[in-house]
């Protein structure tokens, strides 16, 4: 269990992490999601006591990181692929870490085997590819057989086989009752691995919800309609008791009705349709919508300030919901 309490980090005038409070529970994979620059890595560095918080605190099983005796036996962390001395072999890099926390040397060979680096154990780590460096970092995290594991963007640089492997590894570790905290800026990746989701943007907590709830609330389908007789169509839909959202460009979006029902309804009233299509808001769109206001590095285009081209009502709906209970569960209020 990791508890963050009002965690804040300021670099000069810039607030990197803003009063972040949440809990990371054991026995599941908790996804830590946010766009680039949202403060994910800074938060993780503060969890490991590498960066000093401006205010607030992080507790691991009730203790401050610095109070942990031989911390590698409590927490293992993969921060970035290049956090080993390149002139030292993979084996020796792990050996000096193991020795500092009195972990038996036999563990070094074990974890190298787990991550599939046994064949290159004696090679200098500077010759490693990004994926191999990532595996070595994971080996280091597993060294002390810790109950808590932090992974910062673990799939970066991994090939599809490696990505598959790390997903399964995280699920296996969580099923053993460990606390797994993994950051990513890819919603699709989280949807496949995480059981719980913590979303931040510009250092602030945007959502703290179970993955199932998030999917339930954000991937509902809707129907898109376009018609030259838009006024009439809207009246007809209103009469039928349907909620219509106008999205510009003459398009209407209707929640809670099938294409069949809407097509027949239009036919009954002899309304010409130019489009009748079933749509599904992807989780990625829901995530982008949620964080749109807090994305720090926008690409410069004419539409830079416009929201992503998705059904905006989902995001707005989400914002209303999470706005009411941002620090709580993020469920509907």
């Amino acid at each position: 269990m990791i508890e963050l309490d009002g965690l804040t980090k300021r670099f000069g005038n810039k607030v990197a992490v803003d009063r972040l409070s949440c809990r990371v529970r054991p026995g599941m994979v908790t996804g830590f999601l946010g766009p680039n620059g949202a403060g994910k890595s800074t938060t993780m560095r503060m969890m490991l006591d590498l960066d000093n918080p401006t205010s607030g605190s992080v507790r691991i099983d009730g203790k401050h990181y610095r109070e942990l005796e031989e911390p590698l036996k409590y927490i293992g962390a993969l921060l970035d692929a290049k956090s080993m001395h390149g002139g030292r072999s993979a084996y020796n890099n792990l050996l000096c870490l193991a020795q500092s926390n009195r972990i038996p040397e036999s563990r070094v060979a074990e974890v190298l085997d787990t991550v599939g680096l046994t064949a290159v154990a004696k090679k200098k780590s500077k010759g490693f590819s990004l994926g191999m460096g990532q595996r070595l970092g994971i080996a280091a995290a597993l060294l002390g057989d810790p109950q808590v594991l932090l992974f910062d963007e673990p799939v970066n640089g991994l090939d599809p086989e490696g990505i598959h492997w790390i997903r399964n590894l995280m699920k296996t570790l969580a099923s053993e009752g460990r606390t797994i905290f993994v950051s990513s800026h890819l919603m699709s990746e989280m949807a496949l691995t995480a059981d719980h989701l913590i979303v931040i943007g510009q250092g602030r907590l945007l959502a703290d919800t179970s993955m199932a709830d998030f999917i339930h609330q954000n991937s509902r389908s809707y129907v898109r309609l376009r018609s030259p007789q838009q006024e009439r169509l809207r009246d007809v839909l209103h009469e039928a008791g349907l909620i219509v959202v106008e999205t510009g460009g003459g398009t209407l979006e209707i929640d809670g009705a099938t294409t069949e029902a809407l097509g027949e309804l239009a036919a009954q009233h002899q309304i010409v349709l130019h489009e009748l299509s079933a749509q599904r808001a992807s989780l990625e769109e829901a995530f982008m919508q949620m964080t749109a206001d807090s994305v720090e590095y926008h690409a410069h285009s004419d539409h830079a300030s416009a929201p992503p081209p998705a059904g905006p009502q989902w995001g707005e709906q989400w914002n209303r919901q999470s706005g009411g209970g941002a620090a709580g569960s993020g469920k509907e209020v």
């Binding site: 927490i75 921060l79 002139g87 020795q99 926390n101 009195r102």
Partner: protein, 259 residues
């Protein structure tokens, strides 16, 4: 608290498993011994051509350490790399996650690397001395003569302390390149030049290398050098003070800054 013996073992593994640290220590030894030997041989053949003042204050012990001017630079590189590669490689984050007590981490590292630097320093000065004396022919001195043993042991301590000083500086600057960029010109050029400039002399004699190297002189004001307001041990004491200041500075920086 992390177990200190465990951290010491870990730091020893770090040093012995990287070739750069091993090679810099070997160069410190080889460069010092070879250059000292060459200068001793030269002195022996040119002794009669020396100015009278230098002949009168000829110090065969000091001459056999003359290679340290260059050899100490390898020691500086060793000290800087031991700390600096933690930062340049990103290993520092992994290291501090494993040993979050930053004081234990830094002082274990400095203890292991420092003892190693002192051992190599002492070995260098003894080999340099005996080889130098053998090459000095009629002008040689003996290890049993007054103050000679003090100078030889002191020469070793000097080299080791220069290495430890560099570790402290590298911890403060958190970068190998920056540390080397400052320390190398300082020891090789600035300190040497200022100690020869009349006005700057008075300040330069308190520089770590100028003060510390006093311990290697057996003949007072050897080779017609300037008299200093401190004795051999006083000079070494000044160097020790510099080392302590660098380490305290390094500790404060490591403690305060984000890794």
């Amino acid at each position: 608290m992390a177990s200190v013996p465990a951290v010491l073992t870990s730091e020893w593994t770090k040093i012995r498993t990287v070739s750069s640290t091993v090679w810099t220590l070997i160069s410190a030894f080889v460069v010092t011994v070879a250059m000292s030997a060459a200068l001793c041989a030269l002195m022996n053949s040119q002794f009669d051509d020396l100015p009278v003042a230098e002949r009168a204050t000829f110090d065969p012990t000091l001459i056999s350490f003359s290679g340290m001017v260059l050899g100490q630079l390898a020691m500086v590189v060793f000290g800087v790399l031991v700390v600096g590669t933690e930062y340049s490689s990103g290993m520092i984050r992994t290291s501090l996650a494993a040993v979050p007590q930053r004081g234990s981490f830094l002082f274990s590292k400095v203890a292991v690397a420092g003892v190693l630097a002192l051992v190599v320093g002492i070995a260098t000065s003894f080999v340099s001395f005996f080889l130098g004396q053998a090459l000095l022919g009629d002008h040689h001195t003996d290890i049993g003569a007054d103050n000679v043993l003090r100078a030889v042991v002191g020469g070793g301590l000097y080299m080791g302390l220069i290495g430890i000083f560099s570790m402290g500086v590298a911890t403060m600057l958190r970068s190998s390149m920056l540390s080397l960029g400052i320390l190398m010109p300082f020891f090789f050029l600035v300190s040497q030049i200022l100690s020869a400039v009349p006005g700057a002399k008075k300040v330069a004699r308190y520089f770590p290398d100028q003060a510390g190297s006093k311990i290697m002189q057996v003949v007072p004001d050897a080779m017609n050098s300037d008299p200093a307001p401190y004795g051999p041990w006083g000079g070494l004491g000044i160097l020790v003070a510099w080392v302590a200041a660098a380490l305290i500075g390094g500790y404060v920086v490591l403690k305060k800054r984000d890794a």
